[in-house]
Protein backbone atom coordinates (compact mmCIF):
# COMPACT_ATOMS: atom_id res chain seq x y z
CA UNK A 1 0.00 0.00 0.00
CA UNK A 2 2.60 2.49 1.07
CA UNK A 3 5.09 1.69 -1.70
CA UNK A 4 2.31 2.04 -4.24
CA UNK A 5 1.45 5.48 -2.86
CA UNK A 6 5.08 6.54 -3.16
CA UNK A 7 5.17 5.36 -6.70
CA UNK A 8 2.14 7.43 -7.54
CA UNK A 9 3.72 10.36 -5.82
CA UNK A 10 6.89 9.86 -7.81
CA UNK A 11 4.96 9.69 -11.00
CA UNK A 12 3.16 12.86 -10.06
CA UNK A 13 6.43 14.67 -9.32
CA UNK A 14 7.99 13.40 -12.51
CA UNK A 15 5.00 14.52 -14.49
CA UNK A 16 5.23 17.94 -12.91
CA UNK A 17 8.91 18.18 -13.76
CA UNK A 18 8.26 17.19 -17.33
CA UNK A 19 5.49 19.71 -17.76
CA UNK A 20 7.68 22.44 -16.25
CA UNK A 21 10.54 21.49 -18.55
CA UNK A 22 8.35 21.48 -21.60
CA UNK A 23 6.25 24.49 -20.77
CA UNK A 24 8.49 26.96 -22.63
CA UNK A 25 8.44 24.72 -25.71
CA UNK A 26 4.70 24.26 -25.80
CA UNK A 27 4.29 28.02 -25.39
CA UNK A 28 6.06 28.43 -28.74
CA UNK A 29 3.32 26.53 -30.55
CA UNK A 30 1.69 29.59 -31.98
CA UNK A 31 -1.96 30.11 -32.56
CA UNK A 32 -3.39 31.86 -35.56
CA UNK A 33 -6.41 32.10 -37.78
CA UNK A 34 -7.20 31.81 -41.47
CA UNK A 35 -7.20 35.14 -43.30
CA UNK A 36 -9.17 33.62 -46.16
CA UNK A 37 -10.72 30.42 -47.40
CA UNK A 38 -7.99 28.12 -48.60
CA UNK A 39 -7.03 24.49 -49.09
CA UNK A 40 -4.88 22.43 -46.79
CA UNK A 41 -2.30 20.27 -48.56
CA UNK A 42 -0.64 17.09 -47.38
CA UNK A 43 2.76 18.51 -48.32
CA UNK A 44 4.12 22.03 -48.85
CA UNK A 45 3.53 22.07 -52.60
CA UNK A 46 0.79 23.59 -54.73
CA UNK A 47 0.06 20.23 -56.39
CA UNK A 48 0.22 18.11 -53.26
CA UNK A 49 -2.79 16.04 -52.23
CA UNK A 50 -5.64 17.92 -50.55
CA UNK A 51 -5.75 17.46 -46.79
CA UNK A 52 -8.83 19.50 -45.94
CA UNK A 53 -9.73 23.14 -46.05
CA UNK A 54 -9.67 26.34 -44.05
CA UNK A 55 -12.45 28.83 -43.79
CA UNK A 56 -11.84 32.48 -43.13
CA UNK A 57 -11.52 33.24 -39.43
CA UNK A 58 -11.04 29.58 -38.44
CA UNK A 59 -8.54 29.28 -35.61
CA UNK A 60 -5.55 27.02 -35.97
CA UNK A 61 -2.22 26.10 -34.46
CA UNK A 62 0.98 26.79 -36.35
CA UNK A 63 3.32 23.79 -36.25
CA UNK A 64 6.18 24.89 -38.47
CA UNK A 65 7.28 26.97 -41.43
CA UNK A 66 8.92 25.77 -44.61
CA UNK A 67 9.60 28.21 -47.41
CA UNK A 68 6.33 29.76 -48.53
CA UNK A 69 4.30 27.32 -46.43
CA UNK A 70 3.10 26.81 -42.89
CA UNK A 71 2.10 23.48 -41.43
CA UNK A 72 -1.03 24.05 -39.39
CA UNK A 73 -3.41 22.06 -37.25
CA UNK A 74 -7.12 22.80 -37.21
CA UNK A 75 -9.81 21.10 -35.18
CA UNK A 76 -10.33 18.60 -37.99
CA UNK A 77 -7.09 18.36 -39.94
CA UNK A 78 -3.38 18.92 -40.16
CA UNK A 79 -1.85 20.17 -43.37
CA UNK A 80 0.13 22.82 -45.24
CA UNK A 81 -1.11 26.23 -46.31
CA UNK A 82 0.63 29.25 -47.88
CA UNK A 83 1.85 31.47 -45.09
CA UNK A 84 0.15 34.57 -46.43
CA UNK A 85 -3.20 32.87 -45.76
CA UNK A 86 -2.60 32.85 -42.02
CA UNK A 87 -2.85 35.60 -39.44
CA UNK A 88 -0.59 34.92 -36.51
CA UNK A 89 -1.68 35.40 -32.93
CA UNK A 90 -4.89 34.81 -31.07
CA UNK A 91 -8.08 36.21 -32.52
CA UNK A 92 -8.40 38.81 -29.79
CA UNK A 93 -4.81 39.85 -29.52
CA UNK A 94 -2.95 41.48 -26.70
CA UNK A 95 -0.66 44.39 -27.38
CA UNK A 96 2.42 42.25 -27.22
CA UNK A 97 4.19 40.49 -30.01
CA UNK A 98 3.60 36.94 -28.99
CA UNK A 99 4.62 33.40 -29.61
CA UNK A 100 7.06 32.11 -32.18
CA UNK A 101 7.21 35.42 -34.02
CA UNK A 102 8.64 37.08 -30.95
CA UNK A 103 10.94 34.18 -30.20
CA UNK A 104 12.19 33.98 -33.77
CA UNK A 105 12.82 37.70 -33.87
CA UNK A 106 14.87 37.60 -30.70
CA UNK A 107 12.49 40.01 -29.06
CA UNK A 108 11.09 37.76 -26.39
CA UNK A 109 11.84 39.18 -22.99
CA UNK A 110 13.26 42.48 -24.12
CA UNK A 111 9.99 44.19 -23.29
CA UNK A 112 8.89 47.48 -24.67
CA UNK A 113 11.36 50.21 -23.93
CA UNK A 114 9.56 53.47 -23.52
CA UNK A 115 11.79 56.45 -23.87
CA UNK A 116 10.24 59.84 -24.26
CA UNK A 117 13.35 61.98 -23.99
CA UNK A 118 13.20 64.73 -26.58
CA UNK A 119 10.43 63.01 -28.42
CA UNK A 120 7.54 64.99 -29.67
CA UNK A 121 4.44 63.30 -30.87
CA UNK A 122 3.40 62.59 -34.41
CA UNK A 123 -0.32 63.09 -34.09
CA UNK A 124 -2.06 64.90 -36.92
CA UNK A 125 -2.22 68.10 -34.90
CA UNK A 126 1.46 67.98 -34.11
CA UNK A 127 2.35 67.27 -37.71
CA UNK A 128 0.27 70.24 -38.83
CA UNK A 129 2.05 72.50 -36.34
CA UNK A 130 5.55 71.30 -37.25
CA UNK A 131 8.08 73.86 -38.45
CA UNK A 132 10.57 73.27 -41.25
CA UNK A 133 13.97 72.20 -39.93
CA UNK A 134 16.73 73.08 -42.41
CA UNK A 135 19.59 71.60 -40.39
CA UNK A 136 17.87 68.22 -40.05
CA UNK A 137 16.91 67.98 -43.72
CA UNK A 138 20.53 68.76 -44.65
CA UNK A 139 21.70 65.99 -42.35
CA UNK A 140 19.20 63.61 -43.92
CA UNK A 141 20.41 64.57 -47.40
CA UNK A 142 24.02 64.04 -46.38
CA UNK A 143 23.25 60.31 -46.06
CA UNK A 144 22.09 59.99 -49.67
CA UNK A 145 23.80 57.07 -51.41
CA UNK A 146 24.38 56.41 -55.09
CA UNK A 147 22.94 53.42 -56.92
CA UNK A 148 26.48 52.03 -57.07
CA UNK A 149 26.89 52.27 -53.30
CA UNK A 150 23.61 50.41 -52.92
CA UNK A 151 24.90 47.71 -55.21
CA UNK A 152 28.10 47.31 -53.18
CA UNK A 153 26.04 46.96 -50.02
CA UNK A 154 23.91 44.26 -51.66
CA UNK A 155 27.03 42.45 -52.82
CA UNK A 156 28.45 42.46 -49.30
CA UNK A 157 25.30 40.67 -48.11
CA UNK A 158 25.30 38.22 -51.05
CA UNK A 159 21.99 39.63 -52.19
CA UNK A 160 21.27 38.74 -55.78
CA UNK A 161 18.52 40.25 -57.86
CA UNK A 162 15.93 37.88 -59.27
CA UNK A 163 13.38 38.27 -62.03
CA UNK A 164 10.03 38.91 -60.43
CA UNK A 165 7.34 40.94 -62.17
CA UNK A 166 5.37 43.36 -60.00
CA UNK A 167 2.38 41.77 -58.31
CA UNK A 168 -0.88 43.08 -59.71
CA UNK A 169 -4.35 43.11 -58.21
CA UNK A 170 -5.75 40.89 -60.95
CA UNK A 171 -3.91 37.73 -60.06
CA UNK A 172 -6.34 36.63 -57.40
CA UNK A 173 -7.73 33.98 -59.71
CA UNK A 174 -4.42 32.11 -59.81
CA UNK A 175 -4.47 29.54 -57.09
Amino acid sequence: MKPKFLTLKQIFITACCISILYAPLSAIAETGSALKNDNLRAEPYADAKLAGDLSRGESLEIIKKQGAWLQVKTKKNTGWVRLLSVKRGAASSSNQTSGALAVASGRAGTGQVVSTTGVRGLSEQELKAAKFNEAEIKTLESYTLSAEQGKQFAKAGNLETINFANLTSSESTAK
Partner: protein
Protein backbone atom coordinates in the same frame (compact mmCIF):
# COMPACT_ATOMS: atom_id res chain seq x y z
CA UNK B 1 1.23 76.29 -81.32
CA UNK B 2 0.93 79.29 -79.04
CA UNK B 3 -2.67 79.64 -79.94
CA UNK B 4 -3.30 76.06 -78.96
CA UNK B 5 -1.49 76.59 -75.70
CA UNK B 6 -3.49 79.67 -74.83
CA UNK B 7 -6.71 77.97 -75.77
CA UNK B 8 -5.97 75.02 -73.53
CA UNK B 9 -5.02 77.36 -70.70
CA UNK B 10 -8.33 79.10 -71.08
CA UNK B 11 -10.28 75.89 -71.02
CA UNK B 12 -8.39 74.91 -67.89
CA UNK B 13 -9.27 78.22 -66.31
CA UNK B 14 -12.85 77.64 -67.22
CA UNK B 15 -12.85 74.23 -65.59
CA UNK B 16 -11.13 75.66 -62.54
CA UNK B 17 -13.70 78.42 -62.29
CA UNK B 18 -16.52 75.96 -62.56
CA UNK B 19 -14.95 73.88 -59.84
CA UNK B 20 -14.53 77.00 -57.74
CA UNK B 21 -18.19 77.91 -57.90
CA UNK B 22 -19.27 74.39 -57.13
CA UNK B 23 -16.93 74.33 -54.20
CA UNK B 24 -18.30 77.56 -52.81
CA UNK B 25 -20.57 75.65 -50.49
CA UNK B 26 -17.82 73.59 -48.96
CA UNK B 27 -15.44 74.69 -46.27
CA UNK B 28 -11.80 75.37 -47.07
CA UNK B 29 -10.70 72.20 -45.35
CA UNK B 30 -13.18 69.87 -46.90
CA UNK B 31 -12.60 71.40 -50.31
CA UNK B 32 -9.24 69.73 -50.40
CA UNK B 33 -10.25 66.28 -49.33
CA UNK B 34 -13.92 65.55 -49.75
CA UNK B 35 -13.82 65.31 -53.47
CA UNK B 36 -16.93 63.70 -54.71
CA UNK B 37 -18.41 62.57 -57.96
CA UNK B 38 -18.07 64.94 -60.85
CA UNK B 39 -15.65 67.26 -59.11
CA UNK B 40 -13.24 64.50 -58.44
CA UNK B 41 -13.56 63.16 -61.94
CA UNK B 42 -12.91 66.56 -63.50
CA UNK B 43 -9.73 67.07 -61.50
CA UNK B 44 -8.55 63.55 -62.12
CA UNK B 45 -9.03 64.08 -65.82
CA UNK B 46 -6.87 67.16 -65.55
CA UNK B 47 -4.19 65.14 -63.79
CA UNK B 48 -4.26 62.13 -66.04
CA UNK B 49 -0.68 61.03 -66.69
CA UNK B 50 0.62 62.60 -69.86
CA UNK B 51 3.46 61.43 -72.06
CA UNK B 52 6.84 62.98 -71.21
CA UNK B 53 6.93 64.83 -74.52
CA UNK B 54 4.13 67.16 -73.49
CA UNK B 55 6.04 68.38 -70.49
CA UNK B 56 7.72 71.29 -72.28
CA UNK B 57 4.35 72.64 -73.40
CA UNK B 58 2.87 72.12 -70.00
CA UNK B 59 5.66 74.16 -68.44
CA UNK B 60 4.77 77.10 -70.65
CA UNK B 61 1.17 76.80 -69.55
CA UNK B 62 2.04 77.66 -66.02
CA UNK B 63 3.94 80.80 -66.95
CA UNK B 64 1.38 82.90 -68.71
CA UNK B 65 0.86 85.38 -65.89
CA UNK B 66 4.39 86.04 -64.62
CA UNK B 67 7.91 85.98 -66.00
CA UNK B 68 9.17 83.89 -63.14
CA UNK B 69 8.80 80.15 -63.40
CA UNK B 70 5.79 79.26 -61.26
CA UNK B 71 5.42 75.87 -59.64
CA UNK B 72 3.77 73.78 -62.26
CA UNK B 73 1.06 72.03 -60.31
CA UNK B 74 -0.46 70.46 -63.37
CA UNK B 75 2.63 68.59 -64.39
CA UNK B 76 5.53 69.14 -61.97
CA UNK B 77 9.03 68.37 -63.17
CA UNK B 78 11.24 65.95 -61.26
CA UNK B 79 13.04 68.96 -59.72
CA UNK B 80 9.76 70.48 -58.58
CA UNK B 81 8.68 67.16 -57.14
CA UNK B 82 11.92 66.93 -55.13
CA UNK B 83 11.61 70.55 -53.92
CA UNK B 84 8.08 69.81 -52.73
CA UNK B 85 9.14 66.62 -50.97
CA UNK B 86 12.05 68.42 -49.31
CA UNK B 87 9.65 70.94 -47.84
CA UNK B 88 7.36 68.25 -46.47
CA UNK B 89 10.22 66.11 -45.14
CA UNK B 90 11.77 69.19 -43.50
CA UNK B 91 8.49 69.86 -41.73
CA UNK B 92 8.26 66.27 -40.57
CA UNK B 93 11.80 66.55 -39.18
CA UNK B 94 10.61 69.65 -37.37
CA UNK B 95 8.12 67.43 -35.53
CA UNK B 96 10.55 64.58 -34.89
CA UNK B 97 14.30 64.92 -35.55
CA UNK B 98 16.60 62.22 -36.88
CA UNK B 99 17.91 59.62 -34.46
CA UNK B 100 21.47 60.73 -33.73
CA UNK B 101 23.12 57.53 -34.87
CA UNK B 102 24.98 57.93 -38.15
CA UNK B 103 25.62 54.18 -38.46
CA UNK B 104 21.88 53.49 -38.21
CA UNK B 105 21.03 56.15 -40.81
CA UNK B 106 23.73 54.84 -43.15
CA UNK B 107 22.43 51.30 -42.80
CA UNK B 108 18.84 52.30 -43.55
CA UNK B 109 20.01 54.33 -46.56
CA UNK B 110 21.98 51.33 -47.86
CA UNK B 111 18.99 48.99 -47.68
CA UNK B 112 16.62 51.62 -49.04
CA UNK B 113 18.86 52.63 -51.91
CA UNK B 114 19.24 49.00 -53.00
CA UNK B 115 15.49 48.36 -52.88
CA UNK B 116 14.76 51.64 -54.71
CA UNK B 117 17.13 50.55 -57.48
CA UNK B 118 14.65 47.72 -58.20
CA UNK B 119 11.78 50.19 -58.64
CA UNK B 120 10.59 51.99 -61.76
CA UNK B 121 12.32 55.20 -60.64
CA UNK B 122 15.91 54.24 -59.78
CA UNK B 123 17.14 57.68 -60.86
CA UNK B 124 15.61 59.67 -57.98
CA UNK B 125 17.98 60.83 -55.20
CA UNK B 126 16.53 58.43 -52.64
CA UNK B 127 17.10 59.26 -48.96
CA UNK B 128 15.94 57.55 -45.85
CA UNK B 129 15.87 58.47 -42.20
CA UNK B 130 14.89 57.03 -38.83
CA UNK B 131 13.19 59.66 -36.69
CA UNK B 132 12.86 60.07 -32.93
CA UNK B 133 9.38 58.80 -32.18
CA UNK B 134 7.90 55.86 -30.33
CA UNK B 135 4.98 55.79 -32.74
CA UNK B 136 4.80 52.98 -35.28
CA UNK B 137 4.72 54.66 -38.65
CA UNK B 138 6.58 55.42 -41.85
CA UNK B 139 6.27 58.36 -44.20
CA UNK B 140 6.96 59.12 -47.82
CA UNK B 141 7.21 62.55 -49.41
CA UNK B 142 7.48 63.22 -53.15
CA UNK B 143 10.86 63.06 -54.83
CA UNK B 144 12.40 60.28 -52.76
CA UNK B 145 12.19 61.32 -49.07
CA UNK B 146 11.32 58.43 -46.76
CA UNK B 147 11.24 58.28 -42.99
CA UNK B 148 10.34 55.66 -40.47
CA UNK B 149 9.98 55.99 -36.74
CA UNK B 150 12.34 54.49 -34.21
CA UNK B 151 9.28 52.77 -32.73
CA UNK B 152 8.66 50.90 -35.96
CA UNK B 153 12.36 50.12 -36.46
CA UNK B 154 12.38 48.60 -32.97
CA UNK B 155 9.67 46.15 -34.09
CA UNK B 156 11.82 44.86 -36.94
CA UNK B 157 14.12 41.91 -36.56
CA UNK B 158 15.78 41.46 -39.92
CA UNK B 159 16.82 43.27 -43.07
CA UNK B 160 14.08 41.70 -45.22
CA UNK B 161 11.45 43.30 -42.98
CA UNK B 162 13.15 46.69 -43.27
CA UNK B 163 13.33 46.22 -47.05
CA UNK B 164 9.59 45.45 -47.13
CA UNK B 165 8.64 48.56 -45.14
CA UNK B 166 10.91 50.80 -47.23
CA UNK B 167 9.60 49.12 -50.40
CA UNK B 168 6.05 50.11 -49.45
CA UNK B 169 7.08 53.76 -49.03
CA UNK B 170 9.22 53.71 -52.20
CA UNK B 171 6.14 52.51 -54.09
CA UNK B 172 4.10 55.50 -52.84
CA UNK B 173 6.73 57.80 -54.34
CA UNK B 174 7.11 55.82 -57.57
CA UNK B 175 3.34 55.94 -58.06
CA UNK B 176 3.23 59.62 -56.94
CA UNK B 177 0.37 58.89 -54.55
CA UNK B 178 1.02 61.84 -52.20
CA UNK B 179 1.95 64.12 -55.07
CA UNK B 180 -1.41 63.56 -56.70
CA UNK B 181 -3.25 64.37 -53.48
CA UNK B 182 -1.31 67.65 -53.28
CA UNK B 183 -1.91 68.42 -56.93
CA UNK B 184 -5.64 67.97 -56.53
CA UNK B 185 -5.66 70.17 -53.46
CA UNK B 186 -3.63 72.90 -55.13
CA UNK B 187 -5.53 72.94 -58.40
CA UNK B 188 -8.77 73.17 -56.47
CA UNK B 189 -7.41 75.94 -54.24
CA UNK B 190 -6.14 77.92 -57.20
CA UNK B 191 -9.36 77.37 -59.08
CA UNK B 192 -11.45 78.34 -56.10
CA UNK B 193 -9.57 81.59 -55.72
CA UNK B 194 -8.37 80.81 -52.24
CA UNK B 195 -4.95 82.17 -53.07
CA UNK B 196 -4.49 85.90 -52.93
CA UNK B 197 -2.66 87.67 -55.78
CA UNK B 198 0.44 87.98 -53.66
CA UNK B 199 0.28 84.34 -52.75
CA UNK B 200 -0.17 83.35 -56.36
CA UNK B 201 2.90 85.36 -57.36
CA UNK B 202 4.96 83.54 -54.80
CA UNK B 203 3.61 80.18 -55.65
CA UNK B 204 6.97 78.79 -56.64
CA UNK B 205 7.64 78.98 -52.91
CA UNK B 206 6.46 75.54 -52.11
CA UNK B 207 6.49 76.12 -48.38
CA UNK B 208 3.46 78.35 -48.66
CA UNK B 209 1.66 75.98 -50.93
CA UNK B 210 1.73 73.17 -48.42
CA UNK B 211 0.41 75.21 -45.56
CA UNK B 212 -0.71 72.12 -43.69
CA UNK B 213 2.94 71.18 -43.11
CA UNK B 214 4.11 67.65 -42.56
CA UNK B 215 0.64 66.30 -42.03
CA UNK B 216 0.37 65.64 -45.77
CA UNK B 217 2.89 62.82 -45.45
CA UNK B 218 0.58 60.99 -43.06
CA UNK B 219 -2.67 61.79 -44.78
CA UNK B 220 -4.97 58.99 -45.74
CA UNK B 221 -4.59 57.81 -49.27
CA UNK B 222 -7.15 55.72 -51.10
CA UNK B 223 -7.23 52.15 -49.85
CA UNK B 224 -6.31 51.08 -53.34
CA UNK B 225 -3.12 53.16 -53.10
CA UNK B 226 -2.13 51.36 -49.89
CA UNK B 227 -2.79 47.93 -51.37
CA UNK B 228 -0.84 48.90 -54.47
CA UNK B 229 2.09 50.07 -52.35
CA UNK B 230 2.01 46.73 -50.48
CA UNK B 231 2.12 44.73 -53.72
CA UNK B 232 4.89 46.86 -55.22
CA UNK B 233 6.86 47.02 -51.99
CA UNK B 234 6.84 43.24 -51.75
CA UNK B 235 7.84 43.02 -55.42
CA UNK B 236 10.79 45.44 -55.09
CA UNK B 237 12.15 43.70 -51.98
CA UNK B 238 11.78 40.32 -53.67
CA UNK B 239 13.61 41.49 -56.80
CA UNK B 240 16.35 42.87 -54.53
CA UNK B 241 17.02 39.32 -53.33
CA UNK B 242 15.21 39.43 -50.00
CA UNK B 243 12.82 36.84 -48.63
CA UNK B 244 9.44 38.08 -49.91
CA UNK B 245 7.65 37.98 -46.55
CA UNK B 246 9.36 40.91 -44.82
CA UNK B 247 6.48 43.34 -45.27
CA UNK B 248 3.92 40.66 -44.36
CA UNK B 249 5.87 39.92 -41.14
CA UNK B 250 5.66 43.58 -40.18
CA UNK B 251 1.93 43.68 -40.96
CA UNK B 252 1.51 40.63 -38.70
CA UNK B 253 3.30 42.46 -35.90
CA UNK B 254 1.27 45.63 -36.39
CA UNK B 255 -1.91 43.54 -36.44
CA UNK B 256 -1.06 42.24 -33.01
CA UNK B 257 -0.58 45.71 -31.55
CA UNK B 258 -3.46 46.95 -29.48
CA UNK B 259 -5.53 49.34 -31.58
CA UNK B 260 -6.08 51.56 -28.55
CA UNK B 261 -2.34 52.10 -28.25
CA UNK B 262 -1.53 55.75 -29.02
CA UNK B 263 1.66 54.76 -30.80
CA UNK B 264 -0.35 53.20 -33.59
CA UNK B 265 -3.43 55.41 -33.68
CA UNK B 266 -2.39 57.44 -36.71
CA UNK B 267 -1.27 54.40 -38.69
CA UNK B 268 -4.59 52.66 -38.09
CA UNK B 269 -6.46 55.81 -38.97
CA UNK B 270 -4.67 56.27 -42.30
CA UNK B 271 -4.31 52.68 -43.49
CA UNK B 272 -6.65 49.71 -43.96
CA UNK B 273 -6.45 47.19 -41.10
CA UNK B 274 -3.33 44.97 -41.34
CA UNK B 275 -5.56 41.88 -41.67
CA UNK B 276 -7.19 43.33 -44.78
CA UNK B 277 -3.79 44.26 -46.16
CA UNK B 278 -2.45 40.76 -45.54
CA UNK B 279 -5.47 39.16 -47.18
CA UNK B 280 -5.15 41.46 -50.20
CA UNK B 281 -1.44 40.69 -50.45
CA UNK B 282 -2.20 37.00 -50.21
CA UNK B 283 -4.76 37.23 -53.03
CA UNK B 284 -2.37 39.21 -55.22
CA UNK B 285 0.52 36.82 -54.59
CA UNK B 286 -1.46 33.66 -55.40
CA UNK B 287 1.10 31.06 -56.41
CA UNK B 288 3.72 33.61 -57.47
CA UNK B 289 5.88 33.27 -54.36
CA UNK B 290 6.07 29.45 -54.41
CA UNK B 291 9.05 29.60 -56.76
CA UNK B 292 10.99 32.22 -54.78
CA UNK B 293 13.32 30.14 -52.66
CA UNK B 294 16.67 31.92 -52.36
CA UNK B 295 15.48 35.11 -50.67
CA UNK B 296 17.58 36.31 -47.73
CA UNK B 297 16.52 37.75 -44.38
CA UNK B 298 20.01 38.82 -43.21
CA UNK B 299 19.20 39.12 -39.52
CA UNK B 300 22.91 38.73 -38.85
CA UNK B 301 23.74 42.15 -40.22
CA UNK B 302 20.51 43.87 -39.14
CA UNK B 303 21.58 47.04 -37.34
CA UNK B 304 20.70 46.91 -33.64
CA UNK B 305 19.52 50.14 -32.06
CA UNK B 306 21.65 51.45 -29.26
CA UNK B 307 19.84 51.19 -25.96
Amino acid sequence: MNLVTIKSTRSNLLISTLLASLLGLLSLQSAAFDLKGALKDAVEKELAPKPESTQANANKDGNTTTNQPAFNWKNPSKEEEIALGREIAGNLLGAAPLVKDAALQKYVNSVGRWVASQSERPDLPWRFGVIESDDLNAFAAPGGYIMLTKGLYRKLSNEAQLAGVLGHEIAHIVEKHQLRVLQKQQLLNIGAGFLSDKYAKDNQLVSKAIGSGAEISARSLDKTAEYEADRLGLSYATRAGYEPYGLADVLQTIGQTNKEDNSIALLFKTHPHPDERLAALSDAAGIRLDAVKEGKTLENRFYQLKK
